[in-house]
């Protein structure tokens, strides 16, 4: 039994081509099966009982009434967890179902499976859980105090990163300090968490799921289900966006438990309010910074204390705080740095991965500081940045020397020199005004501001993590023509990985018909579709497997044609040294199938020194700069972003159309955090778990994004490419903040910016 999945599309196209994504045909037809669309006969629906308290002891759980409710086939609690009741991306600290304590509002406590989703929800309401309510710890600074209750056995410090670089007692002629605060952002993928678990009748289970990393799900699931990994097989279902929200398990273990218990397929699909507690969020944070510089504007030192609220469970907090700390200074040379990055457990919603991953929070702070420093020095803010920009051969504050192109000054020059948009027209369309069609101004009290920001982050995994991807490439003849099949476990999350795999195979093998197979755990791990790494790492694996196939084709040709050196595979033919076609690839192959599997590993990295944070901890870096132009209604505190300009080095644009989409879409998420998006948490409770109250940018909020895309070529990566997805989300928001400060003359130290921050 299998649900209908997305078609395994074929496509042509070479590296560097503007290739139309092959999955778009099914997507525009409404025929692409997302995880929430999956169905098979005899399927049950799962529902989750969740904690109404951010912190409480569970006294008892009574499932009798729920079990007796109509249509109910199973009600499960922690007692039904067959394996170890603990999972997590980096620290296994989160129960599949809470047993003794709940640590956040919305934590899963019990599960129901029923014939109809409504029956499942109603029965879930009948599960009686007695709680002894505890006072939640909701401020990370409070959580770090010795008197705070320990939320986990090891205390409340999830991780403390110390960076001690250069002279710790350095002094400077000009000093600026600042405190900055970042709100909690939601990834808000439009497709809900959902999936379908089908028991195999032999104790194992098949899970069809929208996830960013099939194999990390598989590993965690095997552990909590008490099964061997080969007994838990995962297949990618259509994914409605991810942005970090699908790195952690949500309903995966729950659906598998219910399916194994009932012996029937079980589907779980979250509602939007449930989604807000069903995945981790971007860490909110408080950042204190001190910058010291010489009178002529050279950075002397940066001191920072960065405190992120990790919420109830660790998720990827330990890696997020490493990024926030390693890149705390921004893309600038700074000989001396003292950085303390701390992420704390609290009883707030758990936080983890979101696009930009720790480099977003610190960018707001270091960029505000650079502007403050420029003001103190009476220097132009772009000139100050360019004066201090990282260059090839610069050392980071972690001591790592960056090789390859580091065009920070050039990116800033490009956004700075771009022509500015026209001033706001008199009698402009209302949609061009702050406040828009709510008709709050026709230009009165509207002031324009321009701001700049630059940012950077690591691509791929860091700190010695064993980063790799696996690809299997199979060449055969189908209907008289050569066909290449590419099989990886890389998650297509919308970024266009399917297209890119086909382009790489098409380029390496010169075959027009390239089919990318459904991603599943039948092939080795591809790692996560995160850290902007898939084009590099899975792209690298596909390239390596194709090269191995090509070598075998050439060897076969040499043996069949009794020919020596110089044969090559070109445009579906074997070509001799003189360029003459010797034999068609299809003829050469005949019945032969050439099948190669390769694992690709990027450069190795090293763990951070625990006392000084010094190490070659990162594999690749990506840089971007943004300029924002805003109009602010200074009476009402409403902001209209008029234009964003960006420049980014992508190394090599494998699919320029997809690169542009990443730059535009990433900037929109940056804009969201800057001016509207915040999960409002009060005493541990989310007050706005809906799209009515959690505001996302609409088309009316989103200005044009002017782009300069540089392809400077990284000598270490496949095709010279760099990860693309995250930099657009890093410096876009800080540029908007700088523009708002320029328009209003106010310090504006908190995001998202609220009207009262600009008026009261």
């Amino acid at each position: 039994m299998k649900p209908r999945l997305a078609e395994e599309t074929t496509s042509g196209g070479r590296v560097g081509d503007r290739v139309r994504r092959p999955d778009a045909v099914q997507k525009v037809r409404g025929d692409f099966p997302y995880s929430s669309d999956l169905q098979v006969d005899g399927m049950l629906w799962g529902a989750t009982v969740r904690s109404p308290h951010p912190y409480a002891r569970i006294e008892s759980i009574d499932t009798k009434a729920a079990k007796a409710a109509p249509g109910v086939k199973a009600v499960l609690t922690f007692e039904d967890v067959a394996g170890e009741n603990a999972y997590g991306l980096e620290i296994a600290d989160q129960p599949v179902l809470a047993s003794d304590v709940v640590r956040y509002w919305g934590e899963a406590v019990a599960l129901v499976a029923a014939e109809h989703p409504e029956q499942a929800r109603r029965a879930a309401d009948k599960v009686k859980v007695e709680y002894a309510v505890l006072k939640p710890v909701t401020d990370p600074e409070q959580a770090l105090l010795p008197k705070a209750p320990k939320l986990h056995p090891g205390g409340n410090v999830t991780r403390h990163i110390k960076i001690r670089h250069g002279d710790q007692n350095a002094t400077a002629e000009v000093v600026v300090t600042g405190d900055y605060e970042i709100g909690m952002q939601d990834q808000a993928p439009l497709g809900p968490e959902s999936g379908l678990a089908i028991p195999d009748g032999e104790g194992g289970v098949d899970l069809y799921i929208a996830t960013q990393w099939l194999h990390i799900d598989q590993k965690q699931l095997a552990h909590v289900l008490g099964l061997e990994p080969h007994e838990v097989r995962l297949t990618m279902a259509g994914i409605g966006g991810a942005f970090g929200a699908r790195e952690d398990l949500s309903m995966q273990a729950h659906a598998c438990m219910l399916a194994l218990k009932t012996g029937r397929p079980v589907k779980i699909s979250y509602s939007r309010p449930e989604s807000f507690v069903g995945h981790v969020h971007r860490h909110p944070g408080k950042l204190h910074y001190e910058h010291g510089a010489t009178k002529d504007g050279k950075l002397v030192y940066v001191k920072a204390r960065i405190v992120l609220d990790g919420g109830a469970y660790a998720s990827s907090s330990t890696a997020v705080i490493a990024n926030a700390s390693c890149f705390a200074v921004g893309p600038y040379q700074c000989p001396n740095a003292t950085i303390d990055g701390i992420v704390a457990y609290t009883n707030n919603p758990p936080c983890g991965a979101m696009r930009g991953f720790g480099s977003v929070q610190n960018c707001y702070a270091h960029e505000a500081q650079m502007d403050k420093l420029a003001a103190a020095l009476t220097m132009d803010p772009v000139a100050l940045r360019r004066h201090n920009s990282l260059e090839t051969g610069s050392a980071l504050i972690t001591g790592q020397v960056i090789d390859g192109p580091v065009p920070v000054a050039e990116l800033l020059r490009l956004v700075h020199e771009r022509p500015l948009p026209a001033p706001a027209a008199k009698n402009a369309d209302l949609t061009a005004m702050p406040g828009g069609v709510s008709n709050t101004t026709h230009g009165e009290s509207v002031k324009r501001g321009i701001g700049y920001a630059a940012g950077f982050k690591n691509i791929g995994y860091s700190e010695g993590f064993n980063d790799f991807s696996t690809a299997r490439v199979r060449l055969s003849v189908v209907d008289g023509k050569p066909r290449v099949e590419v099989h990886t476990a890389g998650a297509e999350v919308g970024q266009g990985l399917v297209t890119i795999q086909a382009q790489i195979a098409g380029t390496e093998l010169g075959v027009r018909d390239v089919m990318v197979l459904t991603a599943d755990t039948e092939v080795g791990s591809a790692g996560s579709s995160s850290a902007s790494r898939q084009t590099y790492i899975t792209g690298g694996a596909v390239k390596a497997a194709c090269e191995a196939v090509r070598e075998r084709v050439v060897a076969l040709a040499q043996s069949e044609l009794k020919s020596g050196e110089g044969l090559r595979l070109e445009d579906e033919n074997i070509v001799g040294a003189d360029g003459n076609v010797l034999v068609a690839l299809a003829t050469l192959l005949g019945e032969e199938v050439i099948d190669e599997l390769r694992v690709f590993r990027p450069r190795k990295t090293s763990p951070l020194d625990p006392d000084t944070g010094q190490a070659n901890a990162h594999m690749q870096f990506a840089f971007a700069a943004h300029r924002a132009v805003v109009d602010v209604d200074t009476e009402l505190g409403l902001v209209k972003v008029v234009e964003l300009a960006t420049a980014q080095d992508v190394g090599k644009a494998i699919n320029p159309q997809a690169v542009e989409g990443q730059l535009e879409g990433g900037a929109a998420q940056g804009l969201g955090l800057a001016v509207m998006e915040e999960i409002q948490v009060q005493d541990g409770v989310i007050k706005n778990p809906s799209f009515t109250d959690y505001l996302l940018p609409t088309i009316l909020d989103m200005p044009p994004v002017r782009m300069d895309i540089l392809e400077l070529g990284d000598p270490n990566s496949p095709y010279g490419l760099k990860g693309v997805g995250e930099p657009p989300t890093i410096s876009s928001g800080p540029a908007i903040l700088a523009a708002i400060r320029a328009a209003t003359g106010r310090p504006v130290t908190r995001v998202p910016v609220r009207p009262h921050d600009l008026v009261l």
Binding site: R20, R21, D23, A24, V25, K27, V28, R29, G30, D31, F32, P33, Y34, S36, D37, Q187, A188, P189, L190, G191, P192, G238, I239, G240, G241, A242, F243, S271, R272, D429, T431, A432, V437, V493, G494, Q495, G496, Q657, A658, E660, G661, E664, G665, G666, A667, A668, Q669, S690, F691, T692, L696, T698, I699, L700, M702, P704, V705
Partner: protein
């Protein structure tokens, strides 16, 4: 009710939402549900030719009316509708979850206004959320769709 030219029996449950009826009873899952309360626009269908959010209607309200879903624009493998074609050509989607809703809104918009200005485009589809594209490619898609529809 008539959905994509086919008559369907009345829903048995009077509380059934039109979106759930289309997805679960009729089995047309191209109509997506992203927020369940009329904000995201993923569930947009044409109701007697005009775009509506099917999650804000009861199925019984559609009795005696014509409903067109995304599957009805180019049924049974027919060539793509110009709006679908335009989204494909201009990379007007990434994950694609919002796409059916956008396509239906744009079909409605172009029917009313075959040659919209950029401002009219923005206003016309401001009721649909996209989390991937930043809307730039969707703007390009609407302009291209208007061109293809001429």
């Amino acid at each position: 009710m008539n959905v994509n030219g086919v008559d369907h029996p009345a829903p048995t449950d009077p509380r059934r939402l039109l979106s759930d009826h289309i997805r679960h009873d009729i089995g047309l899952t191209g109509t997506h549900v992203g927020c369940e309360h009329g904000v995201c626009g993923c569930c947009t269908v044409l109701f007697d030719g005009a775009p509506v959010r099917s999650c804000l209607m009861l199925a019984i309200q559609a009795e005696g009316h014509q409903v067109t879903t995304i599957e009805g624009l180019a049924p049974d493998g027919a060539p793509l509708h110009p709006v679908q074609q335009a989204f494909h050509e201009t990379h007007g989607l990434q994950c694609g979850f919002c796409t059916p809703g956008f396509v239906m809104s744009v079909v409605g918009l172009l029917k009313q206004n075959p040659d919209p200005t950029p401002e009219e485009i923005d206003e016309g589809i401001s009721g649909n959320l996209c989390r991937c594209t930043g809307y730039a490619s969707i703007r390009r898609a609407v302009l291209r769709a208007a061109e293809l529809s001429r």
